[in-house]
Amino acid sequence: MNALIVAAILGVVMMFAGIITKQKSSIRLLAIAGLIVVLFANVLDTYGFHFFSIPLNGMLHFDKLSYFFTSIVLACTLIFFLLSAKDLEKVGFHYSEYFALIFFILCGIILVSAFGSLLILFLGIEIISIPLYILTGSDKKNLRSNEASLKYFLLGAFSTGLMLMGITMFYGSTGSFSILNSINVGAEPSAMLIVSVLLLVFSMSFKVSAAPFHFWTPDVYDGAPTVITSFMATIAKAAAFIAFIRLFYLGFGNIQSSWQWVIAVITAITLIIGNLTAVFQQSVKRMLAYSSIAQVGFMMMAILSLNTFSIEGILLYTAAYSIATLGIFSVLAKMKDYSFEAFNGFAKHQPIVAFSMTVFLLSLAGIPLTAGFLSKFYMLKSVMLTEKFLWLIILAVLMAAVSIYYYFRLIQVMYFKEGVEPAIEISSSFKWLLVVLAALVILLGIYPQLLFNWFYF
């Protein structure tokens, strides 16, 4: 609750900061300092020190999972600010408003990571989506940005409509919006409840961009300004995902047998489409968009299995995926050209940056000793424990092998090709931050207890 209120206040503060000062560096400092305060408030909350006592009436249900996930997201946002806040200047004139919108998105993320009622789920998803529509179209003169924003908006609003129909059906069959204890154990679910669960599956798949509801993702991620894409593809996606898993873990866990096969089919299609299409991409930005779809395929396995392994795994997965993708996108945001050829000989001119990018790519591909490997392992193991979906595990391993092709293509281009020096400015603090992140990826891959000890403190 602390973090929610502080983030909302900071959003308003950032809106007015643009009037008071025109200095971009002070706005940036204010945003970073504010975010540290939010993170600190959330950590205090985790240890039982609440600033406010507000009766929530079951609307919000803060538990360890929600506090911990909020901390991960806030830390990732801090990384995003430190790496890419300077590149946000290039997007448009309204620098402080972008930070304000990001703080409002964080409010939405805290809501969806702690919702206890479907009303809060709906509000949280909308509070995340509406600022994202604006941020996607923030490059106002650029036709691609306009197009991406309209596409995102129309499909996002459409999926919200589906979600609302699902919520209404849920209300009709259970008489309540609360996801906790609304569905009786062992009772045969009514047809209306099943329709409601299916509609919620479809709309949440839209939000996390799982196939066959993924078609907006590459276009939107490609058209949006790269800095915004990096935020959308990591933090906003992780938030939609945690809403998804929370809805099914707390709400529909009792009737798992009636929806499990739908999730299995969606997972399989997502893995196949995401990985196979990523192979044919010529632009790194578009390749990362498809890679984010492919990674969602792995994350969907947590929803399929729903045991303690999958909850631990999804936390590790969101952290590992977000750090690695933020790192790659932050370098990409500094480039002028997004094709693979632009990275020719990158290692010769920027050895430190190229090395950390290699670690991130290895982590995304799931090579041992990186966090990406361990998170994929957790996902596969959680599905293994259900003892039902062996074919899916085999498919996932095959697809992980395919993914190595397109991740290693970038590494190969960076190290084994000759090229002219790319015209990018990289400060030394940026370089060292990337190295720290790469070290973090490896550390989490060797010693994941670092994360979980904190979860079970």
């Binding site: 691609r144 197009e147 991406a148 129309l154 609302l164 919520i167 209300y171």
Partner: protein
């Protein structure tokens, strides 16, 4: 009046909205169809609210009121979405002088 009529009416409206979104090519009309979907949901929500009220009024006098509260939230969020959506459409119109969705295929290649 039995609840079935309300359910059939709102599902029909909802499906008209979905078909409109999938087939129409004018951004404004697609947008109107999305609003139609949201309003179909509102109608169904109120109908269910009344149904739960009649069923549980003896135990709990305020039963079913949460459904009607939800409708207000949907209306507020829909208004916020309209303001952002129309701004996006106007921004696009300034650059292309068209609101046709078929025009939007630059990102494909």
């Amino acid at each position: 009046m039995p609840i079935n009529y309300y359910i059939i009416l709102s599902i029909t409206l909802f499906c008209i909205g979905i078909v409109g979104v999938l087939t129409r090519r004018n951004a404004i009309i697609v947008f109107m169809c999305i609003e139609l979907m949201l309003n179909a949901v509102n109608l169904l929500m109120v109908a269910f609210s009344k149904m739960h009220h009649l069923k549980n009024a003896a135990i709990n006098a305020s039963a079913g009121s949460e459904g009607q509260l939800f409708v207000f939230f949907i209306m507020v969020v829909a208004a916020a979405e309209v303001s952002v959506g129309l701004a996006i459409i106007v921004m696009l119109y300034r650059n292309t002088h068209s609101v046709d969705i078929n025009f939007l295929n630059r990102l494909k290649h």
